[in-house]
């Protein structure tokens, strides 16, 4: 018989660390609130009949954020056999607030008092026996990080069978609650009845719908709430929250003795790191360091070696020799070596840069610096319709958009979140840097060349933010920006490596699936002629399906300056995955499989592009829809087809018009060519952008908040 235990607790309380210790699986752990965004299930290392579900970190069981709804639905509907409530002992008051709600669910609950080492270090004392008596539930002291007492915890959770005790509210509130309990049929017999009654008192619409309350019953509930409101001068949610914290303050006051007062080490570090004057310079220095290490130190040499020596040399040569030795047909050798090894290898060549970037970001997260970045930058981001928390997804997006887009889940405000999803892919990701590198040799090593794309990405984010936040679509309910700033701690190497691996895995999977299929498809298209015969690809004189299609669609990109069919084919295939752009361009141009720094590319590009069309080509590729994998992530994170189509449509329109303007204006202003109809169209578009950027924001002062009158 299997036994399911749910892990619930506040963000950053160490649930995922505990989950990893229990299951030995590679879950992603960080030191900033809200790392787990979906529930995950794993088997107990020591007994495969015990399952753990790691719920997203939540502060409350209210129905307002995505994570809360996921956790609450799971606990109410899937009915786990027991709950392990992970509590950060160094932050006990706020953590116990969720505990008071979990205890009402009628599910056997063990409280895991985590991070006791921090408590001891602060010389605080917690009287666990007293806490256990006052809360009415079993407590086990653990250290998830150091693997202490974890088996005892599981044994307790499995042994438990009785429902936890309930904390009582004040007499007045209890009277209201019993009134509701008798009113709704079937409520009394529900094991979670205490929780449900409280939620009905709070007029929780999801629970009212669940009980299919009719109009009369809803009115009765409203009347009860109104009476309570008059009595306590607060809405019912406020009354309940107040009483929960009153209970906790009393319990904690009796059981916890504060040791040292004054600043902890973490506070002292924070005094410097988020100092008014030093914060921004320190932030810039850290970011510069990360990029220098990832792209300069590791990126160049290691990526070159992987691309040229490993995949370009050793592996393709030995594969060719092996296949030819087996007397395999030449077309199959070509498919495997040129198509698959070349295509997939080109992608995996970026793994060192991405892995380094992810590792360094993981360390920042684990240390606790990420929340500080959000704190430092919030004011800037807010101007562009984003929040300080948007920085993290955008930063991760410079490695790969997919984890960046998924990482937006921690942003509470739906509009901020959608906006961040829409702009996260504007930054140059690992794959796009390959396109950047392709032209680097042509344009020469100007100092502005590398930063241009990051700067361009940031400008695109800002323009989009300013334009979209003024639209009706992005005006919604306000959500507060309240964010916990966790204590700094030393990074755990294991956690950081696990986080890096999880993120790299997504990248490798993409290389093995989408990109593999894509390279095979390109190979087939370029080696089969329009007459259905196998042709060996040599140059564009061959009537392959690929050149046929390419010539049909090339006109679309003519106004952008790259209507030449090879570039058009590369661009269209780049919508599937940006990694294939360079490879495709080399292949269709008859150079065979090329890396971004292939010397043969330079004369070819010089023949087909000019400085202006290079910029247009690159900006289009950087700003347009990133790849199939990222589109999948946008679709699942938006969780709404309209928003998904809006985002994709916006990215296509934005990248196309920006590239159009760059090419048309550049042609006239830089290359001194005569203006055409397209120049006029580009001018009209420019005026449109200026209007959308500078028009007044009619939603600016609209906050759907009613400030209640103060009664003295």
């Amino acid at each position: 018989m299997s036994y399911t235990i749910a892990l619930a607790g506040n963000p950053n309380s160490g649930k995922t660390t505990l989950f990893n210790a229990l299951t030995g699986s590679h879950q992603y752990v960080g030191n900033w609130p809200g790392v787990t965004v979906e529930k995950k299930t794993g088997e107990y290392k020591k007994d495969t009949s015990i399952f753990f579900t790691d719920l997203p970190g939540i502060y409350s069981l209210s129905p307002y954020t995505l994570e809360e709804v996921v956790s609450r639905d799971y606990l109410l509907n899937e009915k786990p056999d027991a709950i392990i409530n992970v509590v950060d002992a160094s932050n006990i008051e706020r953590n116990l607030y969720l505990t008071t709600q979990l205890l009402e669910l009628g599910i056997p609950t063990v409280l895991a008092l985590n991070m006791m080492d921090v408590v001891r270090k602060n010389k605080d004392r917690i009287d666990v026996a007293k806490l256990e008596r006052d809360l009415g539930c079993k407590i086990v002291e653990i250290s998830a990080l150091k693997n202490e007492n974890i088996d005892t915890l599981v044994n307790e959770a499995v042994r438990l069978s009785q429902k936890p005790a309930q904390l009582s509210f004040s007499e007045g509130v209890e009277n209201f609650l019993s009134e509701i309990e008798t009113m709704v049929p079937g409520l009394k017999s529900n094991p979670a009845n205490r929780f449900l009654v409280v939620k009905l008192f709070e007029l929780d619409s999801k629970i009212m719908d669940h009980y299919q309350l009719d109009k009369g019953e809803r009115e009765k509930l409203q009347a009860i709430a109104d009476r309570a409101d008059a009595m306590y001068d607060d809405d019912t949610e406020g009354i309940i929250t107040d009483e929960r914290y009153t209970n906790i303050t009393a319990i904690v006051g009796g059981a916890v003795k504060k040791g040292q007062t004054g600043l902890s080490t973490s506070d002292k570090i924070d005094k410097i790191v988020t100092n008014r004057f030093l914060a921004l310079p320190i932030f810039i220095a850290i970011m510069t360091c990360i990029y220098y290490i990832a792209i300069g130190v590791v990126g160049g040499p290691v990526t070159d070696w992987v691309n040229d020596s490993l995949f370009g040399g050793v592996i393709s040569e030995s594969a060719t020799a092996f296949l030819e030795g087996m007397a395999v047909a030449p077309w199959l050798v070509s498919l495997i070596v040129d198509g698959i090894i070349g295509g997939v290898g080109g992608v995996l060549g970026f793994l060192p840069i991405i892995a380094t970037l992810f590792l360094l970001i993981s360390i920042l997260e684990d240390v606790g610096y990420m929340a500080r970045i959000a704190f430092i930058l919030d004011k800037i981001f807010r101007r562009f319709g984003l929040s300080g928390k948007s920085f993290i997804p955008i930063l991760i997006g410079t490695g790969c958009s997919v984890p960046g887009i998924i990482g937006t889940r921690t942003i509470e405000n739906d509009n901020d979140r959608r906006m961040t999803i829409a702009v996260a892919a504007f930054m140059p990701c690992g794959a796009k840097t390959e396109i950047i590198a392709m032209f680097a040799a042509v344009l020469g090593g100007a100092f502005w060349y590398g930063p241009l794309w990051y700067f361009g990405g940031i400008v695109a984010v800002i323009i989009t933010g300013i334009m979209l936040k003024k639209t009706k679509r992005f005006h919604g309910d306000p959500a507060p920006f309240v964010m916990e700033l966790p204590q700094y701690h030393f990074p755990s190497i294991v956690n950081c490596l696990k986080a890096t691996w999880t993120r790299c895995k997504a990248f490798i999977v993409k290389a093995g699936t989408v990109i593999l299929l894509c390279t095979v498809a390109i190979w087939v298209l370029q080696n089969i002629s329009v007459h259905g015969e196998f042709v060996s690809w040599e140059s564009d004189s061959v009537d392959s399906l690929l050149s046929f299609i390419g010539k049909k669609i090339a006109w679309i990109f003519a106004p952008l300056g790259f209507g030449e069919w090879k570039a058009a084919v590369a661009t269209v295939l780049g919508l599937v995955a940006k990694e294939v752009v360079v490879g495709t361009y080399g292949v269709v141009a008859g150079l065979g499989e090329v890396g971004a720094d292939d010397p043969g590319l330079v004369p070819l590009i010089q023949q087909n592009f000019n400085t202006v069309s290079i910029l247009a080509f690159m900006f289009f590729n950087q700003l347009t829809i990133p790849c199939f994998a990222a589109m999948g992530a946008i679709r699942s994170e938006m969780n709404d087809n309209k928003w998904f189509l809006f985002t994709v449509g916006y990215q296509i329109a934005f990248s196309y018009t920006i590239a159009l303007m760059i090419y048309q204006f550049g042609r006239v202003l830089v290359l001194n060519q005569p203006a055409t109809v397209w120049t006029g169209i580009a001018f009209v578009i420019l005026i449109g952008y200026i209007y959308f950027l500078f028009r007044p924001n009619k939603y600016k002062d609209l906050r759907t908040v009613q400030v209640r009158s103060v009664k003295e």
């Binding site: 932050n91 607030y97 406020g238 009153t246 004011k379 309910d477 964010m483």
Partner: protein, 76 residues
Amino acid sequence: MTLREAIVGKYYSVRRINGQGPLKRRIMDMGITKGSEIYIRKVAPLGDPVQINIRNYELSIRRDDAELIEIEEIVK
């Protein structure tokens, strides 16, 4: 007065939370409830948000949201 006008380095006691729905709920869930004590730790480099200490942990809150929190100074 409201938390928006609070001064860095001073202690305050919460008198009331205005607003309603998710906005108010979220603020209260984080432990900012009637009678709780707030220490104003610092202001972000660009003037917003504000970092406060409440119930022995550090919380950052935007000034716009802080406006919903009515407080009075405690002299220590």
